[in-house]
């Protein structure tokens, strides 16, 4: 046992601990502990009062036993007694016991809180500190409730000792983190901020942790801290290393404080005050200058402290992203670190550079280090550093160096670590697509990628290459040739076979002229791989074969032979068997014309967000958003219509800001994946799908309307489009008055009669999603405005107005929205609606904002229709007809006969009628083909019962199908309005 100092040594405790340590077995230890516990119990029970020393000793022993893992169920009272002692050591042990063994025993908590309160109000700083430490260590909600009011007072009181202030600041931070709702700063805010001016550096260091935490939650209240922090920082930075005495660490003045100050500043945008900003820039420059100075000490602590400040300063510079000069200097500094012999420094340098690369000011500067980074990728020993190097290469890539970087990454891929391969593959695929100047290079790159790292090439990558080849006429021949050559390798990856099968099936004719790749040679080449492939690939190959029959009639006999063989037509896999049978029949029955129609070349795919990007995003999580936003900026370059970049931004914002509507807009980002992945839903769709990709993607979308909205827009933005004018203003007058409603707004309104959620409006800039719910005569509507661009919308405002008599019929309340909508962000607006009486018109929604200086003004009709306030009513047939008869006055009935504009699918009709809000009554109408509904419209003034009957004549020829819709309600206007609304739906 180490000798215990005489002053506060407890011999009994030392002996006990050494006894325990000398125990040979667990049993012996338990026996010793039992004995000691019995001894302590008898001592505590004893009539003779114990003196403070022995109490302390026994409590210590209990603590030790507890820490050994045994239960302690007594001694709490003695510990609490120790709290009221006047001796430091006794008090300390008491607090120690309380913080280790606290339980929410009501009576004791009260006593403990009392003791703490006494200590807090004592003038003795050490006691106050002990109490504060105890509160922080326990940190429970009860503690916060009891002391959250007290501690700020101690913190800002003028006469509090510095050491107590430090403890109080940290204690408050702990309580705030544990239960933020209980710590209310309010009146203390400004005084806490002024702690930054405190004489004592320790107090400042402690306070700044608190302020950073608080200001990250509510930055506005603590705005004043910026200037204080800047002046403090400049004082530290400009001080000589000897000025701060105790707070100089290996010749670096107050490194922790500096780091914390810099981090605090990162919570805020650059200071607007010119003087403050100038001072801050000066500071940052000084820090950068200091990094250049020769080190004052060879010790590693010196350079660590210095570099910590430097990196924090660089992240602040990156955060501000407004000082080109500083950004370039930071970049150069990091460039030096890239070749530092410290691995950690190289890692940090690469990581920071990644963010620097995305800034427009420093992008060029970062690019100068490309050789070093490539070298790092190849030679670094640590995989995490290599990963960062790969990230940086990805970030610094642009058109000028894309070929080099892609080539380097490809060559590295052969030796890359397995853990980062998939990500590398995705990155190569994205870069190749994004910066492809000529598409033969792109095709080469991707095929190389499949060759090198086939296992890591995810589905999306090869879907994408097929999409691009199909959409680009000029590359098809080349692609077919390359694929054909690649397939000739004796062992090629299954993904290669997939691509090969698809492309040769589509464009094999383009290379059939060459005798070396005659149709039969092509077929034999593909079929030689057939047996090595998995079922989905085989299915794809079978589809390719049937396409061959169409392309090259001379191969028909051979292929039919193959399809007819037992291994196909009697395959144990249902999918393969079905394909073989169907294709065989198709090829033998159908005439050449039919065959040619059915097996026509695939139409171009609608351009959507690259599915690969979505995949990468999924892999990296929200952290990748910055890179994606960067993609948005680049979008004009090659592939992007405005559509694509915007999508990326919106999807990214969805990923980062979870909102109730996340899936609402997310629909779109999910859709492209499936749209691009023909085999996702049904395998039969892939090559052979009669409907073509547009239809298949529509099938995937939940609501046909969405795809209807997308389709025109998607088809007019083909894969490659010059940096067009897609970003220009939408067709609306740039005036301050609300624009007249868009011509299509009525149509939009009709889309929402039978449903409550969806996308209301979308153009190149803005997307508006709706989610609404109704209950009796009240409704609530959530509007989601998504900024599809990467530039923020300024002075964004929305108004909802009720024109004319609607004002008295409908009560609409809105909350204002934030005037700023960041690029790629989404804001939400809540609208409360109350229906006073029945109405016809819809309220108008007007949206105004400035995008790049141009005023945008859009007016829409809010989809609030009278039927939203329907309450479904169930009733029996007898009831229904009785009521039907009661409403027999001519003005109570409204009837319409109209042509069916959609098919007469029973399920669709039912869904629409239910979506209307009424109850669909079964077995009421004698004719089972007819539909009968009942409901009550709830308005504040009255309730209007409503009965509905829809009679389709399904037997008629398609195109001549008609409906008769009859509505009866107790109010004539209601009948007419609902009838009008509903007539548009079928």
């Amino acid at each position: 046992m180490p000798a215990v100092s005489k002053g506060d040594g407890m011999r009994g405790l030392a002996v006990f601990i050494s006894d325990i340590r000398n125990c040979k077995s667990k049993e012996a230890e338990i026996k010793r502990i039992n004995k000691e516990l019995a001894n302590i119990r008898s001592k505590f029970k004893g009539d003779k009062a114990l003196d403070g020393y022995s109490k302390k000793k026994y409590v210590c022993k209990l603590l030790f036993i507890f820490l050994l893992g045994h239960d302690i169920d007594f001694g709490h009272m003695e510990a609490v007694n120790l709290l009221s002692s006047n001796k430091y050591t006794e008090k300390q042990i008491g607090y120690l016991f309380i913080s280790v063994l606290v339980n929410s025993n009501s009576e004791l908590i009260r006593l403990i809180n009392n003791a703490i309160k006494n200590d807090l109000s004592s003038r003795n700083p050490t006691f106050m500190c002990l109490a504060l430490h105890c509160i922080a260590n326990v940190g429970s909600r009860e503690m916060a409730e009891a002391f959250a009011g007290e501690i700020p007072r101690i913190l800002v009181a003028g006469d509090t000792m510095d050491s107590v202030k430090q403890s109080a600041a940290l204690c408050l931070l702990r309580l705030y983190k544990a239960s933020p709702d209980l710590v209310l700063m309010g009146e203390w805010t400004s005084r806490v901020v002024h702690l930054l001016n405190d004489q004592h550096m320790g107090v400042v260091t402690a306070a700044i942790s608190l302020i950073t935490c608080l200001s990250s939650k509510n930055p506005d209240e603590f705005k004043t801290c910026v200037s204080l922090a800047v002046s403090r920082l400049s004082r530290i930075v400009s001080s000589a290393s000897t000025d701060l005495q105790d707070y100089t660490y290996y010749f670096v003045p107050a490194p922790w404080l500096s780091c914390k100050l810099l981090r605090l500043l990162q919570c805020y945008p650059p200071p607007e005050d010119g003087a403050v900003k100038g001072r801050l820039v000066e500071c940052l420059e000084t820090i950068l200058n200091k990094a250049q100075e020769p080190p004052k000490s060879k010790k590693v602590q010196h350079s660590n402290a210095k570099n910590a400040i430097l990196f924090e300063a660089i992240s602040l510079i990156i955060h501000y992203d407004s000082e080109p000069n500083l950004l370039v200097r930071a970049c150069n500094q990091l460039g030096q670190f890239l070749q530092h012999r410290e691995t950690n420094l190289r890692y940090l340098a690469l990581e920071s550079m990644c963010t620097l690369a995305s800034s427009e000011f420093s992008h060029e500067a970062v690019k100068t280090h490309i050789e070093t980074v490539i070298n790092a990728l190849k030679t670094e020993r640590d995989v995490s550093v290599r990963q960062r190097a790969a990230d940086l290469l990805y970030a610094m890539c642009d058109r000028s160096n894309a070929k080099q970087i892609v080539a380097e990454m490809l060559s590295y891929l052969e030796t890359a670590d397995y853990s980062i391969r998939e990500e590398m593959v995705l990155k190569v695929a994205i870069l190749a697509e994004k910066y492809a100047v000529d598409y033969s290079w792109y095709v080469d790159t991707i095929l190389n990628l499949i060759r090198i790292a086939g296992d890591y090439v995810s589905e999306e990558v090869w879907y994408r290459v097929i999409q691009i080849v199909i959409n680009r006429d000029d590359v098809q021949g080349y692609a077919a040739k390359t694929v054909f050559e690649a397939l000739q390798a004796p062992a090629c990856h299954e993904n290669m076979v997939k691509v090969g099968g698809y492309i040769l099936g589509e464009f094999g004719n383009l290379i059939a002229g060459d005798p070396r790749s005659s149709p039969l040679v092509q077929f034999n080449l593909l079929h030689s791989k057939f047996h090595l492939c998995s079922v989905p690939t085989r299915a794809l190959l079978l589809s390719a074969y049937i396409k061959f029959i169409n392309l090259f009639p001379e191969t028909k006999a051979t292929i039919q032979e193959v399809l007819r063989s037992d291994s196909q037509i009697r395959n144990s896999d249902v999918e393969l068997q079905q394909r073989a049978v169907e294709y065989l029949k198709l090829s033998s029955i159908a005439s050449t014309d039919v065959l040619a129609t059915v097996l026509e070349e695939m139409p171009p795919f609608p351009e959507r967000e690259s599915s690969i990007l979505a995949k990468l995003k999924k892999k990296k999580g929200p952290g990748a958003v910055s890179v994606e936003l960067e993609d948005g900026k680049e979008r004009g370059e090659l592939n992007g219509g405005g559509d694509r970049g915007g999508d990326a931004a919106i999807a990214a914002s969805n990923a980062s800001t979870p909102s109730p509507s996340a899936d609402l807009l997310g629909l779109r980002s999910a859709a492209p994946v499936s749209g691009a992945a023909p085999s996702a839903g049904s395998l039969l769709v892939d090559v052979f799908s009669e409907a073509g990709p547009a239809a298949s993607s529509a099938g995937v979308n939940d609501d046909g309307f969405l795809s209807a909205l997308h389709a025109p827009e998607a088809s007019d933005s083909p894969l490659v489009e010059g940096p067009g004018d897609s970003d220009s203003a939408p067709p609306s007058a740039a005036s301050e008055d609300p624009a007249p409603p868009l011509p299509e707004s009525d149509e939009l309104l009709n889309k929402f009669v039978c449903k409550n959620n969806g996308v209301l409006f979308e153009n190149q800039l803005l997307q508006i999603g709706i989610k609404s719910e109704y209950r009796q005569n009240l409704g609530r509507m959530y509007l989601f405005y998504g900024n599809k661009t990467s530039v923020q919308f300024v002075s964004f405002s929305t108004t909802v107005s009720c024109p004319g008599e609607l004002q008295s019929q409908l009560n609409v309340q809105t909350k204002t929205v934030e005037p700023l909508v960041e690029g790629g962000a989404q804001v939400q607006q809540v609208i409360n609606i109350e229906c006073l009486t029945d109405f016809i018109d819809a309220p108008l929604l007007n949206i105004k904002f400035r995008y790049g200086g141009a005023l945008q003004n859009i007016s829409l009709k809010l989809p609030v229709t009278i039927n939203k306030f329907f309450q479904p009513t169930e009733m029996a047939a007898a009831d229904f007809f009785q009521r039907w008869k009661q409403l027999s006055q001519p003005q109570q009935e409204a009837q319409k006969i109209f042509k069916a504009s959609h098919g007469m699918d029973t399920e669709v009709l039912k869904a629409k009628l239910l979506g209307l809000g009424t109850a669909l009554l079964e077995n009421v109408d004698p004719n089972p083909e007819n539909y009968v509904c009942a409901g009550v419209i709830q308005t504040k003034a009255q309730q209007v019962g409503c009965l509905l009957r829809l009679e389709p004549n399904a037997q008629a020829q398609p195109g001549e199908q008609m409906y008769r819709l009859t509505l009866r309600s107790s109010k004539d206007t209601v009948s007419q309005r609902v009838c009008d609304l509903l007539a548009e739906q079928f």
């Binding site: 040979k24 039992n34 004995k35 516990l37 019995a38 001894n39 119990r41 505590f44 169920d73 025993n105």
Partner: protein, 436 residues
Amino acid sequence: MIGGLFIYNHKGEVLISRVYRDDIGRNAVDAFRVNVIHARQQVRSPVTNIARTSFFHVKRSNIWLAAVTKQNVNAAMVFEFLYKMCDVMTAYFGKISEENIKNNFVLIYELLDEILDFGYPQNSETGALKTFITQTGIKSQSKEEQSQITSQVTGQIGWRREGIKYRRNELFLDVLESVNLLMSPQGQVLSAHVSGRVVMKSYLSGMPECKFGMNDKIVIDKQGKGGATEEAAGKRSGHQSIAIDDCTFHQCVRLSKFDAERSISFIPPDGECELMRYRTTKDIILPFRVIPLVREVGRTKLEVKVVIKSNFKPSLLAQKIEVRIPTPLNTSGVQVICMKGKAKYKASENAIVWKIKRMAGMKESQISAEIELLPTNDKKKWARPPISMNFEVPFAPSGLKVRYLKVFEPKLNYSDHDVIKWVRYIGRSGIYETRC
């Protein structure tokens, strides 16, 4: 089959490690130490399965013996082997302790080579082993002796060699029983059984054929059927018969004969052997009755009174009586008064231990104690563990009696009458508990 055998000391250091099969690696040694010996919670199961490897262990004082296997072996066989291994070691160097094992580790390896072959147990009869594994160094044996050993070890009667001669033919028979009991506070027997062993130590010349008889109910009933009714037969033989639930015999007993006529006949090994093991559950004579009385006086005091009554012939003396009365975990002080023996509160074991050296039959004795308690925050009620008892009595609580042990040696000139025979009965307590 057994893949390896390890012996550890209390710290988990390996003293002996013998691996018989390749599927057991070195790491098995550590796995057992980490998961069993140093386990945070005490491991109570003697079989532990770690990573598809089974560990069977027994503990002798501070020494752990662990057999390891990856196969699905007969666990009973493994434990039988481990116990035998303990017996063999005890026979060679006395008590199994760390020091003894360290001093004899060459011998132990030699023994392990002999009694386990590729994990299959071999001859583990101490008498036979001692003829060729000796502690006195290598004694050069003549060819004759060697061939004799070979024929004995591989022959039909592997446990006894020929040509043994004694001047005095003596035979000792011990009936050792342990009686287990769990009784309710009201005196109702909740469970009771006796497990017994018949241990024989023989110093007989030649190859004697022995026959052992006891008051087994089945045998006596069979005899009785020849003559009068059952009771009459019981009375004629002069004592009660007992029902044996199950029994196992030493390998020397001819099982075929036992199955056919239920007679126990055998050629005994020289020296000590355990002739049979048995278990009975009916008509057990409980040597002691414990009557507890526990009264809680308020929250801080407990009064305990325990009476023990001896329940056997007054002429017999029970020995080494120890009564263990558990105390609550928040005991802060104990006062004990007892008429007989010595009683003490042992804080380290949370119990009052009352010891009486001797006690005659049909007597009773009493202890009373006052236990002071410390009020605690814990609302948990004390579980009141049962009062347990240890003792030794000079009779068999199962009622087993040796009726005869006959010795025939046709080749030599001594008869049954010339053999001096000793019989001794010892009844000990197993787990003998009374709830309070």
